[in-house]
Symmetry: C2
Subunit: 475 residues, 2 copies
């Protein structure tokens, strides 16, 4: 699987100098990103494209080819796949559409391709996909990318890796991370999943040292048991948004990437049983990973809220309780310590700081709360009109690591101000109180999933090899 993400030589089949040629944009982006591997263009004339040497077929390319990226009209694809097999190319990405999602003709072509894949022992990503982005080696075979558009996203190496069934969602994630403090490690757009599916990629990301969190956008799941077995082996946070909670949504998704409608309750149950954190909105794919990448896990449900803007204490309390967590009762000792720090309006939870405070007072309060036995995590809601508060938040991130307890920080300012501060100071700010509360909730969910997975594996180690054990259904 690693050759998909780290190929030394690539053939881009379909790239030519014809105006509006889509495959040419793949040669364009590899050249723009100065990808270090060899990139060859394959077209009828055998012409070079964006500086990539040209050949008329993959078989004419001298030497070894790790990966063929195919973007030609669907009816030409089976022949090219056969040629790739004969050339000994073991990894294919078919970006062309018009197969299973395109009616009976498309389906019969898909079957022909499947035959070659099996005969030559190849692995196939797609069809109807964008393929791979790897920020760590600057490899990208997405078509249609305008050079310069995603410079920040592509040039910054991140720790969040994605599996997506839609290029549009991938673009939204990359675009959103331009104003965030974490970003993408790898992205695999898997389209119709005729061979490689989400489980194969999860398995790869699980062993990938530069992936800390895995995010998935799914339109369907074809092999639920495989997904559950794979998920049970993964200790990294595994987040999934799935479209098709209603039959209308399922039908719309089916016309997009050829999936069967899935029963949503079954998927929900599978997620809970196999330790997949199910997301409630597309934006959670890029908003929530930062709680895992920047903070320790939440190891209990007792939360302390602190704010210098009174109303947000009550709003936060509602959200915490509705999310299944608790507003912790601060002990008399903790309250006495808080009282000593200055003129607090309220030393009970939610702690109300009043309007004007020095940086050291903020730090003292953070320290008292994080060190309190009765506090598992913080929801700080400090207004950041003054720079001194931003400095205090920078220190808070360090303190959270020291105490092994997370803080989900929301600053009650307009969204553009939040984005500015997050980008400039690289601090994990959430965009709403709802999002911050949700981040704590998923952090605690991950903590519980990990405990469950550990128990499951201990039991299976006693029984024998995990691979041979039953599926985790019923755990």
């Amino acid at each position: 699987m690693d050759k998909f993400f780290n190929p030394e030589s690539i053939a881009v089949v379909g790239a030519s100098n014809t105006p509006f040629n889509l495959a040419a944009t793949i040669c364009g982006i590899t050249t723009y990103m100065k990808y270090s591997g060899n990139v060859y263009a394959v077209n009828r004339k055998g012409e070079a494209v964006h500086g990539c040497p040209g050949y008329t077929t993959v078989m004419d390319i001298p030497g070894n080819v790790d990966l063929a990226v195919i973007l030609i009209s669907a009816k030409q694809v089976p022949t090219v796949v056969r040629q790739c097999g004969e050339k000994g190319i073991k990894h294919l990405i078919i970006e062309s559409a018009g197969f299973s999602e395109g009616g009976p003709d498309g389906q019969s072509m898909q079957e022909e391709i499947n035959g070659y894949i099996s005969r030559y022992g190849m692995r196939l990503m797609g069809p109807n996909c964008l393929g791979i982005l790897n920020t760590h080696n600057r490899f990208c075979c997405f078509y249609g990318i305008i050079p310069g558009k995603y410079d920040t996203g592509f040039a910054t190496t991140g720790s969040i890796s994605y599996i997506i069934q839609s290029g549009g969602i991938g673009a939204l994630i990359l675009d959103s991370f331009q104003k965030d403090m974490v970003t993408v490690s790898k992205m695999a757009s898997i389209g119709n999943k005729s061979d490689i599916d989400e489980s194969d990629i999860i398995d790869y990301y699980n062993g990938d040292a530069s992936t800390e969190v895995i995010g998935m956008y799914l339109e369907n799941v074809q092999n639920g048991r495989k997904l559950m077995n794979t998920a049970m082996k993964v200790k990294k946070p595994l987040l999934a948004f799935k479209v098709g909670r209603t039959s209308e949504g399922s039908q719309a998704a089916a016309s997009h990437t050829a999936g069967m409608a899935n029963n949503d309750a079954v998927f929900e149950c599978a997620c809970r049983q196999s330790g997949i954190i199910r997301l409630k909105s597309i934006s959670e794919l890029h908003s929530l990973p930062k709680i895992f990448a920047s903070m320790p896990l939440l190891r209990g449900r007792r939360i302390a809220v602190m704010t210098n803007s009174g109303a947000f204490g009550g709003i936060a309390a509602d959200l915490i309780v509705e999310s299944g967590m608790e507003m912790t009762r601060l002990s008399p000792e903790t309250q006495a310590k808080l009282d000593k720090t200055g003129q607090l309006f309220n030393v009970k939870n939610p702690v109300d700081l009043g309007p004007a405070m020095a940086k050291q007072t903020f730090l003292d309060i953070f320290d008292i709360l994080l060190s309190a036995e009765e506090v598992d995590g913080l929801l700080p809601v400090p207004n950041v009109w003054q720079d001194v508060v931003i400095e205090a938040i920078l220190d808070l991130v360090e303190m959270c690591r020291k105490y092994g307890k997370p803080a989900a920080i929301y600053v009650p300012n307009a969204i553009d101000r939040i984005l500015q501060i997050r980008e400039k100071y690289r601090i994990p700010l959430f965009e709403s109180l709802e999002e911050a509360t949700r981040a704590l909730a998923v952090s605690y969910q991950q903590f519980r999933f990990l405990k469950k997975k550990e128990r499951f594996h201990e039991r299976n180690i006693r029984k024998g090899d995990f691979e041979k054990t039953e599926s985790p259904v019923g755990v």
Copy 2:
């Protein structure tokens, strides 16, 4: 009540040149905003503040005073209130804190104040509040406002009027509107509501020509029957966010503005019965009003989705169905018309436009959908990488008015791009697909509330005067 929003002469009691004097910031902001009325400062030395002439007591001010704004320590307030009564000042705003929310001493001072209010026939806003902002005459008596900070929000006259029980929420709303295409008409911060409450302000806004939508942030409701009776009379959209859905949230709110905990189910029921749209988050206070200010009401539940980014069709379908609306079935005639416009990927709902389209094609599709009998409203999800799409959206807003059907537009781009476009082109863009769907849902809720209120009033007109009828409970 109008004198609170349009006073010709104001006394700011407590404003002096002492460093960090909070009341002085009220003189500062009225001067900065070039408010046309007379503003007097009242302080021990009788000194002028920020160009406002100074007096030692309100009684020394020559001529009539419409409004006294009081921001001094709580224990001095009762005497000043009595002096205002003797001076014949009929409108008071007490911004000082330390009354009902501050224990037994505060409560006894509150009772003394109540006595004077009653004896002299005055009306009181507060205590523990910020008072009034009116963008239409540039009057603001909020304390602590840094001149220049809210220039956009204060200088632009809008059509959304607010009732808030927290200055922090007011600041967040004003700040958020700086990147929006609608903004604030008036804002009343009513604090502990010892005399004037939300119902009095709703009643005033209802008769105010420059208010189209009313938004409320409430921490408690003291007179629920009054609120319901008032709400039933209001045809403008009336939106409310209330803190205290849980007992933890109620307790936190009580320490903030001295309210009693309210049973949330009772409030929920009161909203449904009296036609108040209940909001789910603070951000809805500023995000949702634009659907009312810029679009016709949604008069049925059948929605057509159109997108040029396939995945969003399925996601939108899920959200529409989950919000109690329907994905409309486009008639064969409508589908045939859509098919004629160009190379659409999907002419069924969700309509998938494929990647590249001309402005005219967008307009043709909008026109076909809006004119279709089976469509009550649109959820367009166009990616706006090309400026031509923005031009098409500008025309769509006009077309919606022409057909009397709303569109809730979401562009699937990163949030900062959405804010940029919305601010520059003044088009009603929502910040997420969830928010756009919710806007359609509340528009339809308002349509049904209006029908219900009309039926209620017709019945009461037959019975006699509305004011004398029973409360709307049970309607």
